[in-house]
């Protein structure tokens, strides 16, 4: 028996329309899970679905995760269609590099809503009575190496990622009686369709510096998805409240 098998499990994945979230959806389907995909862009969600194994058994909802009322309805609809959830993979999030003086209260609000409040609210909805499997399961938030180390211009992003790390530990304590495990994954810099156009990757000089910060070079989306498969699966049944750094050695020094 494969300890990483996800057959029979219903996993809700946010940010499933691109990058790491999309790869996680594909990988979860390959490991047998039924996936509930959430993201804003309907077309790209459909594209993710088409790349997944057994695409007909998964369902996708186009939703803005900060539209809390709609999220509540979507969770109910999803459970009615594919059954109770066994896991959440919250990969939706936004990133930026901004100096202190440009981080306005409005920016703080937007980033905390997208990266923190939406993760917490979705967890709250899925953990409501009747939505989560009675057998328990696994919740994974995406933090970042920026949630535990610093870099100029990253304070706003770092604060949101640090909040997820901190919140996950207390949720791990609170949800353990329900056999729900809560962990975070902290990726280093991974090449995705979105960031390959950003200066730290597209500019060769800057890319070299970014690469040198990671002992093993830059990551691929599958590196992160594999870590998520582990945390979602029964292979990690004794693992809760941890942060799994998948960062090519970024935090080793």
């Amino acid at each position: 028996m494969n300890p990483f098998d996800l057959s029979g499990k219903v996993i809700c994945i946010t940010g499933a329309s691109s990058g790491i979230g999309r790869q996680c959806a594909i990988s979860c389907s390959q490991f047998g899970a039924t996936v509930v995909l959430l993201a804003r862009n309907e077309e790209r969600l459909a594209e993710t679905l088409s790349l997944m194994e057994h695409s007909q058994k998964h369902i996708a909802f186009s939703v803005d995760l900060t539209d809390y009322e709609k999220v509540s309805q979507v969770v109910k609809d999803a459970v009615a269609k594919v059954g109770r959830m066994n896991g959440i993979l919250h990969s939706a999030g936004i990133s930026t590099t901004l100096p202190l003086k440009l981080v306005t209260p409005d920016k703080l609000e937007v980033f905390f809503q997208s990266n923190v409040f939406s993760a917490y609210n979705l967890t709250r909805e899925i953990c409501k009575m009747g939505n989560f499997s009675k057998d328990g399961g696994s919740i994974v938030f995406f933090s970042s190496v920026m949630g535990k180390t610093g870099a100029s211009g990253k304070s706003l992003y770092s604060m949101t990622k640090g909040a997820l790390l901190a919140g996950a530990r207390s949720l791990a304590c609170e949800l353990a009686p329900k056999k729900i495990r809560v962990n975070t994954v902290s990726p280093g810099v991974v090449i995705t369709p979105i960031n390959c156009n950003l200066p730290h990757i597209s500019d060769l000089e800057r890319r070299k510096i970014t690469e040198q910060q990671h002992l093993l070079g830059l990551g691929e989306t599958t590196d992160i998805a594999n870590a998520c498969i582990y945390l979602l699966s029964d292979a990690a049944k004794w693992v809760t409240g941890i942060d799994l750094c998948v960062d090519g050695g970024y935090t080793a020094r």
């Binding site: 009575m129 009747g130 009675k134 609170e174 009686p177 329900k178």
Partner: protein, 73 residues
């Protein structure tokens, strides 16, 4: 009225594995904890506009005690 109260109490305590009855001592439920206590207090406040001090709450033992306290306000 009584059934609605029981349903609200079940939901506040996340009880789905078993039924609850008026004669039950709610502290005996497996689900009872300091956190479910807070959820119950919040439910009584929100749904029944009923506030209660912890010292008074301690005097309540059965589901019926809770129900009667709410209805006697």
């Amino acid at each position: 009225m009584e059934q609605k109260f029981l349903d609200s109490l079940k939901e506040a305590m996340d009880i789905e594995a078993h039924e609850i009855n008026m004669t039950d001592n709610f502290r005996d439920y497996e689900e009872w904890s300091s956190l479910t206590y807070l959820s119950v207090i919040a439910m009584l406040d929100e749904e029944y506009d009923f506030q209660i001090e912890e010292s008074d709450f301690r005097k309540l033992h059965t589901v019926a005690d809770l129900y009667n306290a709410v209805n006697s306000k």
